[in-house]
Amino acid sequence: MSTAKDTWRKAPFIANPLLRYGLMIAVAVYFVVTLATLPIDWDRVADGMTRAQRIFSGAFPPSFERAGLLFDGFMESLKIAILATVGGILLSVPLAFMAASNIAVKPVYLMGRGIIIVARSFHPVIVAIIFVKAVGFGPFAGALTLVVYSIGFVAKLLAERIEEIDFGQVEAMRSAGAGFIATLAYAVMPQIMPRLVGLGIYQLDSNLRASAVVGIVGAGGIGATLANAFGRYDYDFALAITMVIVGVILISEAVSGFIRKRIA
């Protein structure tokens, strides 16, 4: 009878002890050095505290006096979001087919992927700044921004779904002598439709949220109303706007979640 070991330890994640302890020390040193060298002015932080207190006391109680302005801003945001979602999806579908490696030929595929990567690489706020410069202040700049934002998200995920389809159906259509468009419409579209509807609803919800942000840089909607309220020290109105934004987003999340669950 052999003596069985009664102790067991999980092997360390990094086997080399020198490397393991070296890395730990390096991380600790970097953290301390960073804290020591970052220009944090504690006096200004203290000043800021009193300013923050002024803002918050000014914000209470929230003022719904200018509800009309609030409502107009929201309707504009909603219009921007709907316009951007519809436009974004109309552009995303052909782009997704271009960017699916099992459907498109190599040069088209690379171009499709390229467009999606460009659309994804900038945060909506940066895109909004560019469009505000290009087409002027207002909701049109916001809608264009969110179209780009929608393409980056919807086209990418849709392309990935197209790459996962059951290719046998495509084979069946080809063997019947179907043309390219007819093959896509019969063999591919029915397979990706549930995902497309889900993405569309999610994107509407997401665009509504993003439209509040891009408004701050001048692209219209409720964000513009919020930025103005802050600029004029109307903190109570700003709080009212913020509360309504949170409320609307909660509702839209609930609705889109419900719909997506039903179509899944």
Partner: protein
């Protein structure tokens, strides 16, 4: 008449899957192709309508050499070959009628296809065929609501909608239970007779192959090593078709060459 001459298919630089294979199918006979997995049955069938591009050799259907056709010509020519698949390859989310009509996609305009405005005679033909195989009452059901046997009937009707000159069936009964499988084989045999249609079936079930076909072709590693009436397929021939492991066989071929 389908005439395959010196058909070779090679994937990459490896051993060819089909080796200078010759096969002629005439009249309205039902031909079964048997052989172990990897023998090249499926590749053979797919080379006929060029779902798989042959490396060399010719495939001639009633005077048209399929291997010489351009992309555009091939698309029109494919209408003449109906195909039935092992996994049915139906469009699950569309109705049975749309699935059946998808067999006409090579004939109708893209616009008609997108708007589902199918020609009157196609609808009539569809109902006739669906009536014949017993699925007419499912016309408005979604294809994924049907059972396996019913789904394969849709697959067969879809292929027949092309008014094909030949029907290829790639293991049409492999995903079905024995009883349904027999029904589908009976259906294929009867349709071959009624429509004077030559049918080539890849099949694993040798008992069914012997029972339903007029002719059996046995394949082994890219070559046809048996081609005769079902009655001539005895124990000895069976052993030859199914015996051996791929590696051994390739070694022997290598030694002989």
């Amino acid at each position: 008449m389908l005439k395959i001459t010196k058909l070779t298919k090679r994937y990459g630089s490896g051993d060819p899957v089909l080796k200078e294979l010759d096969l002629t199918v005439e009249g309205d006979q039902l031909t079964s192709v048997i052989g172990s997995s990897g023998a090249g049955k499926s590749t053979l069938l797919r080379c006929i309508n060029r779902l798989v591009e042959p490396t060399s050799g010719t495939v001639e259907l009633n005077g048209t050499d399929f291997t010489k056709l351009s992309r555009r010509e091939l698309r029109t020519a494919r209408r003449r070959i109906g195909m039935v698949f092992q996994g049915f390859n139906l469009i699950d989310r569309l109705t049975v009628m749309e699935n059946v009509q998808s067999g006409r996609l090579g004939y109708i305009s893209t616009w008609a296809a997108l708007t589902r405005r199918y020609p009157r005679e196609d609808i009539c033909h569809a109902y006739e065929l669906m009536e014949r195989v017993g699925i007419a009452h499912y016309a408005n059901k979604r294809a994924d609501e049907l059972s396996g046997g019913e789904r394969q009937r849709v697959g067969v009707v879809r292929a027949l909608m092309q008014r094909p000159e030949i029907l290829l069936a790639d293991e049409p009964t492999a995903s079905l239970d024995p009883k349904t499988s027999e029904q589908i084989m009976t259906l294929l045999r009867d349709l071959a007779n009624e429509l004077k249609l030559p049918v080539i079936i890849n099949i694993h079930n040798v008992t069914e192959a012997k029972e339903f076909s007029d002719r059996i072709v046995g394949m082994r590693y890219g070559r046809i090593i048996f081609d005769d009436k079902p009655a001539a397929l005895g124990k000895e021939q069976m052993d030859e078709i199914y015996a051996g492991v791929p590696a051994e066989d390739r070694a022997q071929v290598g030694a002989a060459a």
